[in-house]
Point group: C2
Chain length 406, copies 2
Amino acid sequence: MLRCILLKNRFVFNKILDDLYLIRQIDLDTKYFESIWEIPEGVVYNSYVLNTSNGSIVFDTVKKNYCSEYIEFLDKNINLKNVKYIVSHHGEPDHSGCVKELSDETNAVVIGHPILGRELSSFYNLTRFKPVNDGESLKIGEYTLVFHYLPWLHWPETIVSHIVEKNVLLTCDIFGSYGVYFNEIYFDELSVEKQREYLIRARKYFANIIGYYREWVLKNIEKTSSIGLKPEIALPAHGLAYRGDSIDLIKEYYLKWSRGEVIDKKIVIVYTSMYRFVEETVNDLASILGENGFKPIVFGFNDTYRSSISDIIGELIDCETIVLATSSYDSSVFPIAKLVAELIVKKIPRNKNIVVLGAYGWGYRVSRELSDIFVKNGFNVKTFDYQAGQHKSIIREIFDKITGSS
Amino acid sequence: MLRCILLKNRFVFNKILDDLYLIRQIDLDTKYFESIWEIPEGVVYNSYVLNTSNGSIVFDTVKKNYCSEYIEFLDKNINLKNVKYIVSHHGEPDHSGCVKELSDETNAVVIGHPILGRELSSFYNLTRFKPVNDGESLKIGEYTLVFHYLPWLHWPETIVSHIVEKNVLLTCDIFGSYGVYFNEIYFDELSVEKQREYLIRARKYFANIIGYYREWVLKNIEKTSSIGLKPEIALPAHGLAYRGDSIDLIKEYYLKWSRGEVIDKKIVIVYTSMYRFVEETVNDLASILGENGFKPIVFGFNDTYRSSISDIIGELIDCETIVLATSSYDSSVFPIAKLVAELIVKKIPRNKNIVVLGAYGWGYRVSRELSDIFVKNGFNVKTFDYQAGQHKSIIREIFDKITGSS
């Protein structure tokens, strides 16, 4: 039922400040963000409009599936003829998807990083493009825009736009989150409980999308400090906006997540189980860990169920210890366990303990092959192999291995 | 509705010949066979019983989730007190799942390869075990059983049982298939159309489960010839039974699939597409290939849809050329494309052409990293990189690459 209602309300229009407006495209159709991350909570693409006495500027557009609806909706809410510029903060098609159509419709020039120009030309044959330099400003009517390069968050051409007179920063994917909200524009409008849920979604988004570029988060936060950027409002291209203290809050989380700061005693166990032997081990292990004051969170893949990989990667980012428990398969690692291991290597900071538990049936010891993936990427790894069905006699040994006693 | 009916009929009892019976466990609950292969068509576990004047023998059991129902069902159809032996052809728990319970219930001794003894001891703490040697026979009542080792199909301890007086061979996973059938026992009872469908399911099963062990298929078929095994009936542990000519037919297919014999002009394209650029390429490519007499089959992964990996691997086994088209991701291969590549390396014979198409946005050339996976495993690989959005200008070049003109 909700989806039916949403089909009529795929776009939402809100005022942020005088002259500054938000257009949200509600997306509950995408099952796999970036074609890999499961997002049952949906996602929103935020496009912004600044009206000036000398024309309007649109900041980012929406996903390319819905361009005609987007432009039709824009047309109802702003004067399309007035659009002079489209700022495209980066080229990923969930935001750049309609710049070509909008530029064709309005004759507006697209502004962005020089690399973006090449992308838009390749993706959409767009030629109406004006590159900007790092720190370059654009005066339009009563407003000044300054563009800052914050590269590799998460594409190389990422820029942010500072509307100087309003001290508003448009941040593109930075500070973005999954999830769909109708009644709130700002994070601080959520209840305390909803804020907690939102931060879990923001962490998941961070880990999935920004995780691989975490070193660049640190560099770029340093850069924004050094150039004295202290916006009163931060407007990301997904999820809710931030103002006042909540900007510092999300920035603090970005620092923690990038550094891999851990929540005390938080252990995430991910397992694959062909015939429930590994699952039994993991269940017993989680019990013992819980009884001893640890906080285990368990994700699994078996013959009837698959955990969400996007949730797994989200939870891993602030745990102390990762346990990856798996069986062998065709004299090698179980394929899904390898996929998870490789995503961990990409997305998760190295300062975590990893314990690999390998269960075998007729011989092959799987832990070494899996742990090699981690070791060569700088993780601290312990391994433990055991014969399937025999975990009860050694569960204490496994516990000691995980908790550092051995 | 079908599922509701099935819940009451989870087990089916059939007579094969005088004294020889089949118990089928219908499984429409398992979504991922071996916790990886999607099987919407379901699967059946076949257990067989031979009644002799000196007691009964049960050959294989069913998946461990349903032991009490299985034993209850057996009890209704045979005299449980008469069961003297349980032959367990290999240790994988979809067949060995209830040997412990059945052995405890009946005091029957479990017979199998020596390696199986260690597995059953580890998995289920089973000790009532009698190992048999390759070629060893067991006389029981009026029947003679001969056990043959056919190792690595697909576990090392695989044996088959020959009931000499009936010239019936019980083959465990060999000649198995996915799919659930109620009205037929034998493959040759299917209509021509249903036989065609069944062979696609059997090929999928073969590729998924036996694919990695295809060299052992060739060795073991040679072995069965050299020892003069020519059964009149072959009874696998999944799917339908074979008799007469259809035994030769399925054996021929096993030889073809193991050798990687190709269907002329069959091309399978597998793609991952983050924002539909690769998808557009693949659609245009499939059109051109079709227009030129090739038979392209397309599988894809995008933001709303994931093809079935089990179907992909099934289709690949007899194609001439595999095209893997993908985008780059975090300066590397898109993770699902890598998973598919690694499954191809495991399951598919090397005598196929592989063409890797890599689409990039801002720079990273993905084809090399993917093709390396294939090259180091002995495949013949061609690569082609192009900037996303630019395929129309080069689609002919891609066509030539695939069809061998360049």
